[in-house]
C-alpha cells in the first residue's frame, strides 16, 4: 500500500539556512507593497493567490492590484482595510529561507511589533523619503533596540517621489544615524528603494547609480547571522523528563529540552540549578541520533552519570559561568493588556520552562517611546506602554541579562484570572 521513500534529497535545499525578519513602518509607507514585491519577485506568490487578490481588488473597485490582500487574511481586516495581527509569510531564494513577521502599522502597534521582533534576526524599518525620520521611525527603532534585534536595514522608500535624490537620501541617513546613536543596534544598513517600481529591491536600480551598496534582497540573503546566538554560556532549561518504562530502556532517564546557550558535550561537568547538584553528561540524543555536541537552538535529550533530582523548570548549566539564580528581577516590560498594570499586583511569570507566581514590587519609570525620555513621575502602565519594573518571584529564576541571552533573559506575565498574556519582559 505504501510507496517506498525515494533516496532523493536536494542537497542544495538541505544546506539553506534561515533568516527571520520583521518589517516596521507606518501606514501608507509601502510596507505591504514591499513584502508583496519580495514575494512576487522571488516567485513565492502563486497564480491562484494572484487570481484571488485580482478578483478581490476588482470587487472592491480599486485600481491597483492591492498586494496587502495577500497578508490581510482575516474577514475583519479585509472589511476594514487594516491589518489587525502579526501575519507570517514565507519565501525562499536559492541562498536562504525567510520567515517574515509582518506587523501592522497602527493600532496595538507596539504589542505586535514587540511580538514580531522577539524572534527576529533582522528588522526592516521603512522611511518615506518625502517625510524623512518621523516619530514612528523612532518608535520602531527603539523597539528593535529594546528587543535586541541584531541587524537593522533602513529602507528609504519612495525614492521615485524625490527624483532619486542622493542628497535627500544622505540627509535621511544623517538624521537617522544621529538618532540611533542613543540606541543599541549593532548593525545598521541603509538602502534607497522604490518598492512600487522595484528599484534596489531585488535588482540594482539603474536610476540610482550613486548608490554603491547591495539591493535589499541580496542584503537579506547575505547578512551574517552565525554570531546572533549565544554559544558561550551553557544553558539547558529542562522541559520534561523522558522515562520509557519498558524492558529495553529500563533505566533510561533523559532530560528533554532546547539548548538556550553555549555548547554541551558528553563528559562535561554540569550543575543543575537551582538545586546546585552536580554530575557529568553521559550522553546527548538529537533528532537524528546521538550527538557529540549540542548547541542553541537544538532540541535534545541528555542523560547524566548520576541520579540527581532534575525536573521541568530546572536549568542544566556548566560550573564555569553560572547564571543568576534570583527571586528579584529588574526588567523592562511592554504591556499588552487593556487592563492596566496593577502596582503590587500578582501575575504568573513564565520564564524558560518555569512558571511561578510573581508580584510587581515597583514601577521605576515609563519610557516615552517617541522621545526615549524616562518619565519617572508617570508610573501608570497601560496597553502598549513600555516601562521598567522590579519583580519578586515565588521561586528563583535561572536567568541571564536579556542583552546576553534572548532565551534566558526573556519572560511573559500572565493574568492569573483571565489567563491572558499581559506583558513581555526583558531582564536587565
Amino acid at each position: 500500500m505504501t510507496a517506498p521513500a525515494h533516496q532523493h534529497t536536494d542537497q542544495h535545499y538541505l544546506a539553506m539556512d534561515l533568516l527571520r525578519f520583521t518589517t516596521a513602518g507606518s501606514v501608507d509607507d509601502g510596507k505591504s507593497t514591499l513584502i508583496g514585491r519580495l514575494l512576487y519577485d522571488s516567485k513565492s506568490i502563486f497564480e491562484d493567490q494572484l487570481d484571488a487578490i485580482e478578483r478581490a481588488t476588482e470587487q472592491r473597485g480599486e485600481e491597483h492590484l492591492n498586494l496587502s490582500l495577500l497578508t490581510d487574511g482575516l474577514r475583519a481586516e479585509r472589511e476594514q482595510g487594516i491589518t489587525i495581527d502579526v501575519a507570517y509569510r514565507y519565501f525562499a531564494t536559492p541562498r536562504r529561507k525567510f520567515i517574515v513577521a509582518d506587523t501592522p502599522g497602527h493600532i496595538q502597534y507596539t504589542r505586535n511589533m514587540v511580538t514580531g521582533a522577539s524572534t527576529a534576526n533582522l528588522a526592516i524599518i521603512l522611511i518615506d523619503a518625502r517625510k524623512g525620520v518621523i516619530e514612528q521611525t523612532c518608535r520602531h527603532s527603539f523597539i528593535a533596540s529594546l528587543l535586541r534585534i541584531p541587524h537593522v536595514v533602513v529602507c528609504v522608500n519612495k525614492m521615485d517621489l524625490v527624483d532619486f535624490s542622493e542628497a535627500r537620501f544622505n540627509e535621511i541617513v544623517a538624521a537617522y544615524t544621529e538618532f540611533a546613536s542613543r540606541l543599541e543596534i549593532p548593525d545598521i544598513k541603509f538602502i534607497p528603494i522604490s518598492a512600487l517600481h522595484g528599484d534596489n529591491v531585488v535588482d540594482r536600480s539603474d536610476r540610482m547609480s550613486w548608490y554603491q551598496g547591495s539591493p535589499l534582497l541580496y542584503t537579506l540573503e547575505t547578512v551574517y547571522i552565525g554570531s546572533d546566538v549565544n554559544h558561550i554560556d551553557a544553558r539547558f532549561p529542562v522541559q520534561t523528563v523522558i522515562r520509557p518504562n519498558n524492558d529495553e530502556h529500563h533505566d533510561f532517564r533523559g532530560f528533554a529540552g532546547r539548548v538556550a546557550g553555549g555548547v554541551f558535550k558528553p563528559g562535561d561537568a554540569v550543575v543543575s540549578q537551582p538545586s546546585g547538584l552536580t554530575s557529568r553528561i553521559k550522553s546527548i540524543h538529537g533528532p537524528s541520533g546521538d550527538l557529540q555536541e549540542a548547541f542553541a537552538p537544538m532540541s535534545v535529550v541528555m542523560t547524566l552519570e548520576d541520579e540527581i533530582d532534575v525536573s521541568r523548570g530546572d536549568t542544566i548549566t556548566k560550573a564555569n559561568n553560572p547564571p543568576n539564580v534570583t527571586q528579584d528581577v529588574e526588567a523592562m516590560i511592554c504591556w499588552f493588556s487593556e487592563k492596566k498594570l496593577v502596582p503590587n499586583g500578582k501575575y504568573i511569570i513564565r520564564h524558560t520552562t518555569r512558571e511561578a507566581k510573581s508580584v510587581i514590587k515597583a514601577v521605576r519609570y515609563k519610557v516615552n517611546i517617541n522621545t526615549l525620555h524616562k518619565a519617572e513621575g508617570d508610573l501608570d502602565i497601560g496597553m502598549n506602554d513600555i516601562g521598567r519594573i522590579q519583580l519578586r518571584t515565588a521561586v528563583p529564576l535561572i536567568a541571564d541579562a536579556y542583552q546576553r541571552n534572548r532565551s534566558t533573559g526573556s519572560f511573559i506575565l500572565i493574568d492569573e484570572f483571565t489567563n491572558a498574556t499581559v506583558a513581555a519582559g526583558m531582564i536587565l
Binding site: 521513500a5 534561515l18 487574511g73 509569510r89 511573559i412 489567563n419 498574556t421
Partner: protein
C-alpha cells in the same frame, strides 16, 4: 565557532520537537489529530523523535468522514501499528445518525464542515485539553495569523481578533476548565519543507501522492475522483486521467492534479515549479473568500 549553524530544515525540526514537548509538559490529555495526509505523517515522525526512546505519549485521533480515500485509511492503520500508537477513530456518520449533524444536500455533499461537530464531540468525550494538528501558516491566509498555541473557548471556537501574543519560545497554555488548545508545531513549515523532510527522513506515504490512473470528473476546474458520494451533473462525465494528489482530504472536496511524478524526487521538482498553491485543489476553500477563517472560528482543524 562558525560551525554552530543549523540548516533551515534542522531549525524547523528542532522547533517542532520543542513545541511537542511543551504540549506533553503543559497539558494533561493531549492528542495528535491524524488524517493520514503528508503533514500528519511528518507530525508522527516528529512526535517519535521528541519522546524517543519512549513511545509517543498521546493517541492518534482520526475524524473519519467516511469519504476518505481507501489508501489513506489503510495507511493510517498501518502507521498506528508500526509506531505502537493508540488510534482513536470517530465517525461523522455516527454524528449524523445521532442527529447531531445533518448531511449537506446537492451534487457533492461534503462532510468537511461536519467534521467539526464530530471533532468537538470527540474532544469532549475524551476530555482532550490539547490537540496537535499539522496545519501550516503558508497554506491559507487565515492560517497565516494562527498561533503555535491556539486557544479555543468552551464551544471550541477560535477568536482570531483576540489571540494571545506569542513571544520568544514562551507558550502560554493556561486555560479554564472546558477550554482547550489546538497546537501547530509545523506552523513555520512550507509545503516544500514538508516534502524535503519526507525525503530526508525516507518516510512512507500513501500511494495516492504518486502518479496513477484514476477516473475523475472535472467540476469547476477541480478534478474529483469517481466515488459513490458524487452525483454527476448534466453534461459531466468521468474520464481516466494520469493524476496524483498534492493534498489528501475528503474525496468529495480534494481535487487531483495531472501528473506523472512517480517518486519523491519528481514530486519535489513538481512542487518547486508549481504555480498554484496546494489548497488550490481544495473545493472546500473555494466556497468563499474567508471560507477557512469561518470554519476555523467554528472549531475546524
Amino acid at each position: 565557532m562558525s560551525s554552530y549553524n543549523l540548516t533551515h530544515l534542522a531549525q524547523l525540526e528542532h522547533e517542532a520537537i520543542f513545541i511537542m514537548r511543551e504540549v506533553a509538559a503543559q497539558f494533561e490529555r493531549p492528542a495528535l489529530l491524524f488524517s493520514g495526509g503528508k503533514d500528519s505523517i511528518v507530525m508522527v515522525r516528529l512526535a517519535q523523535k521528541a519522546f524517543a526512546p519512549a513511545k509517543i505519549p498521546f493517541p492518534l485521533v482520526h475524524i473519519d468522514t467516511g469519504h476518505n480515500f481507501e489508501e489513506t485509511i489503510q495507511f493510517r492503520d498501518w502507521l498506528a501499528k508500526d509506531t505502537g500508537s493508540r488510534l482513536v477513530v470517530r465517525y461523522v456518520a455516527d454524528s449524523i445518525k445521532a442527529g447531531r449533524a445533518q448531511e449537506e444536500k446537492g451534487p457533492n455533499p461534503s462532510r468537511n464542515g461536519l467534521q467539526t461537530i464530530t471533532l468537538l464531540d470527540t474532544i469532549e468525550e475524551f476530555k482532550y485539553d490539547a490537540c496537535l494538528g499539522g496545519a501550516r501558516r503558508d497554506e491559507e491566509k487565515a492560517r497565516a495569523k494562527e498561533r503555535f498555541f491556539s486557544h479555543r473557548d468552551e464551544f471550541g471556537q477560535w477568536d482570531p481578533k483576540n489571540q494571545r501574543p506569542e513571544l520568544w519560545n514562551l507558550f502560554n497554555g493556561r486555560k479554564n476548565i472546558g477550554e482547550h488548545f489546538r497546537v501547530f508545531p509545523l506552523s513555520n513549515w512550507t509545503e516544500m519543507d514538508v516534502w524535503q523532510y519526507i525525503a530526508r527522513e525516507k518516510l512512507d506515504i500513501p500511494s495516492i501522492y504518486f502518479t496513477h490512473q484514476r477516473e475523475v470528473v472535472n467540476r469547476n476546474g477541480v478534478l474529483l475522483a469517481k466515488s459513490p458520494f458524487i452525483t454527476l451533473l448534466e453534461g459531466e462525465k468521468y474520464e481516466t486521467r494520469t493524476v496524483r494528489y498534492r493534498t489528501v482530504g475528503d474525496s468529495t472536496c480534494t481535487g487531483a492534479v495531472e501528473s506523472d511524478a512517480a517518486d519523491l524526487g519528481a514530486v519535489i521538482q513538481e512542487v518547486a515549479s508549481a504555480r498554484q498553491t496546494e489548497r488550490g485543489t481544495r473545493a472546500d476553500d473555494k466556497r468563499s473568500e474567508t471560507a477557512m477563517e469561518d470554519r476555523k472560528k467554528a472549531g475546524y482543524f
